[in-house]
Symmetry: C2
Subunit: 457 residues, 2 copies
């Protein structure tokens, strides 16, 4: 996968060396010789991944990494820290700063390319999602990136799949301080648990007795239920070929045995953050779309949602020869509430009206604000008797207890009139059904309000 | 990248052979021995890619492919046809059926894995997008998948980057019958054109004189402006290593010289379809999100959009010490229009009211339906004089010509009252500004309507 790689190093020969290696592999290379330039390039969106020298005069690599990872516009960029010595303390500082991975000088070409490719590929998967979330922010929906950058990466649910019990126990103890951890020794059982549960990250041993751990990794990465969950491999240092293979399969990260406790904690935290970032983006796009079919005042579905779904339900009822009922509910003398107590009181009444209707309908019924003080309920599979019962129950619940207004300081009595209609074989479409419910509602009003009138079937 | 591969073959030994090869590479394998089973598996969403034997009794592979590619729920699945002989006629039939690629028996392992990996990776990039689009469909937004499956793949804009003029000319002639084609001989110029234009597909030679075509491919795949555009390599048959390399870089497809005219046309059409599919998904998610901030009746922004953006513009004005103005416009005696001519007439008036206001404001102004018959306009950078002028112009344009109702069969005169306010240094927030505009509007009504009143600055 091609990508734009930013190399940050204060020494020109180091820059050139990396640039040559990456360029030969057809990566587009951008370079910076200090931290501030690097941050500027990242903020302009001119790179997909950062190779960052840890030791630089002025702002060092750790600080650059920390800034990138805590800035909403750059937090999603993978950062690989390049250190002179493979010092656990340096790795830890880097991980604390949010680095995604490490390379030790002199840089091994295979390791370099494997990590860059793996991180670029993982990033590409969430790029589309991030672009949609950015568009939603531009429309005024709040900033999912800010929330994601502030994510702590703690209190996650983790699955460890490892049959080396002592090692698994130590990991569970270390991770258990900030997360909820489950250990499974059998790889088949691990797969089952992972598909049934909802873990944030899975840690998978590559050294099961008699089972190839890479297969479990690969299954977790390809099954629908688990493909958004990061997977971290646990491997022996000598097992490098399989580690590279795993990265190629889409595994997110790895830890080499004997596992350093601090590195374990830091790497898992990074993966939890990454998973939650993608999740937040998905939720944000979803929430924006849902708002488009939600009535702001009552939280019910709006007319747009109702129109599109009534058509579908009606068609389905016709196809299956099933009944379908529609209730049109209108608050009696709503204008006198608005005029007498103010628009805010009218809004309070409407919200409570919606809540009571919601409480007496089922999940499969569609309840939507039809407009003004009218709410419509679609009851699939209901005939006239059933629909009338639903309507009568709602009418009673509205009349039974007064509504509160002025922030709960006052109460008023409210009643509702309901028009009920069911699908008729001659109906050309949902508009006919709606029309009959409307006529029935009108009749209910004419006959003195606070009553249910059913249209002749 | 791991994935679930569906192998379809009526002969058990063939199935087993492919299954073993793919399983060794850690792919999850599902199999089917006839077309109907294969289609059922695809429709259930149980695979990511299909390896499809062309020759099967009953429904043959071409027909299975055609059905998968014309069904909205399965059209996005990459299909690789497996044929016994490398017959151009078979390839063409497959391409016509919508196949994404071909393998000839006996299957070469390198080619098999390169194609499967490449197609799986490309699919993974649009999966997130597709999931969002599916969610939007479930909310009732219409079906982007149906439109995408019906896409013809014609009338595209294509860029050919090739310095073999004769060959480029022949391709341009063949493709020119259904598309708009541009030929560029210089690879640097090609990159420039691609980033500046908006091509649906680029065809890139790997054999430029003195330039590595893979570099151009890689750049096109990584630059922001071009990364959603499919790239097809033009290569010599002997250049297999670089073809595989290109697929690894994310290039979508390739053609081997001498280029078969029919295959060229068919493969480009497939790429155009793929590009438009992703584009349709993106647009659909975007449109769903935009609906959430759009007023259904007038097409203006709604209150939700206004509230979130006024806050931002106000903050910005404070930060930069710039003025900002707000106009609140209310149709005079709107109730008499509704009561006298019906709600439909009221809606017609509201729509025309919105249109006239839109026509006399700028793109950077925010025009939103504030509620009922009120529209609000935010004018960034405007002081009291400027804002009053805008308001006065709108008032005149409303009064100047009558509005049409009852479908254009009748006209009525409409006037508007406008309250204008500008930001004051003491304002704690946008609510203060809004409050003053509201008071000014009230005053305009009191003073006889059809007038502009500006709040004291």
């Amino acid at each position: 996968m091609s990508a734009r790689v930013l190399i940050v190093d204060d020494l020109f020969p180091n820059l050139k060396l990396l640039e040559t290696k990456l360029s030969l592999e057809y990566f587009d290379v951008v370079s910076a010789m200090n931290g501030l330039d690097a941050i500027a390039i990242c903020e302009k969106g001119l790179c997909d991944i950062v190779l960052l020298d840890a030791m630089m005069p002025g702002m060092d690599g750790f600080e650059v990494c920390r800034r990138l990872k805590t800035t909403p516009t750059t937090a999603h960029l993978p950062v690989v820290m390049v250190t002179a010595l493979d010092q656990p303390s340096d790795r830890l500082r880097g991980l604390d700063a949010g680095a995604d991975d490490f390379l030790t000088k002199p840089i091994d070409d295979t390791a370099l390319l494997a990590r860059v490719r793996s991180l670029v590929r993982l990033k590409a998967m969430t790029d589309e999602l991030r672009n949609r979330a950015l568009a939603s922010r531009d429309l005024g929906f709040g900033d999912p990136l800010a929330a994601a950058a502030a994510e702590t990466g703690l209190n996650a649910s983790l699955l460890i799949a490892d049959d080396r019990r002592a090692s698994a126990g130590r990991m569970a103890a270390a991770l258990g301080q900030s997360h909820c951890v489950e250990v499974v020794c059998d790889p088949h059982q691990a797969l089952e648990k992972a598909t049934e549960g909802s873990y944030d990250v899975a840690l998978v041993s590559l050294d099961f007795e008699g089972f190839d751990g890479l297969r479990l990794c690969s299954q977790l990465r390809s099954l629908d239920r688990t493909r958004t969950m990061p997977v971290v491999m646990l491997a022996d240092a000598g097992d490098r070929a399989r580690i590279m293979r795993g990265l190629d399969l889409g595994v997110h990260d790895y830890l080499v045995r004997p596992i350093d406790r601090n590195e374990l904690v830091a790497r898992i935290r990074t993966q939890v953050r990454r998973k939650r970032f993608a999740h937040a983006l998905r939720e944000s796009v979803q929430a924006s779309m849902e708002l488009a079919v939600t009535d702001g005042l009552t939280g019910l579905h709006n007319r747009r949602y109702f129109d599109s779904h009534l058509a579908g339900l009606f068609r389905e009822a016709v196809l299956r020869g099933r009944p379908i009922a529609l209730l049109l509910l209108d608050i009696d003398r709503f204008k006198t509430i608005n005029d007498g107590f103010g628009h805010d009181a009218g809004d309070e009444v409407l919200r409570q009206f919606a809540d009571r209707i919601r409480a007496h309908t089922r999940g499969i019924d569609i309840v939507a604000r039809f407009g003004g003080e009218e709410i419509v309920v679609v009851v699939p599979d209901a005939g006239l008797d059933g629909a009338q019962q639903v309507a009568e129950r709602i009418r009673e619940r509205i009349e039974a207890a007064p509504f509160t207004i002025h922030g709960g300081t006052r109460t008023i009595d409210v009643t509702v009139s309901v028009g009920v209609a069911v699908r008729h074989p001659d109906d050309a479409g949902p508009a006919d059904l709606l029309k009959r419910a409307d006529v029935a509602l009108y009749q209910a009003k004419q006959e003195g309000r606070n009553r249910v009138v059913a249209a002749a079937a």
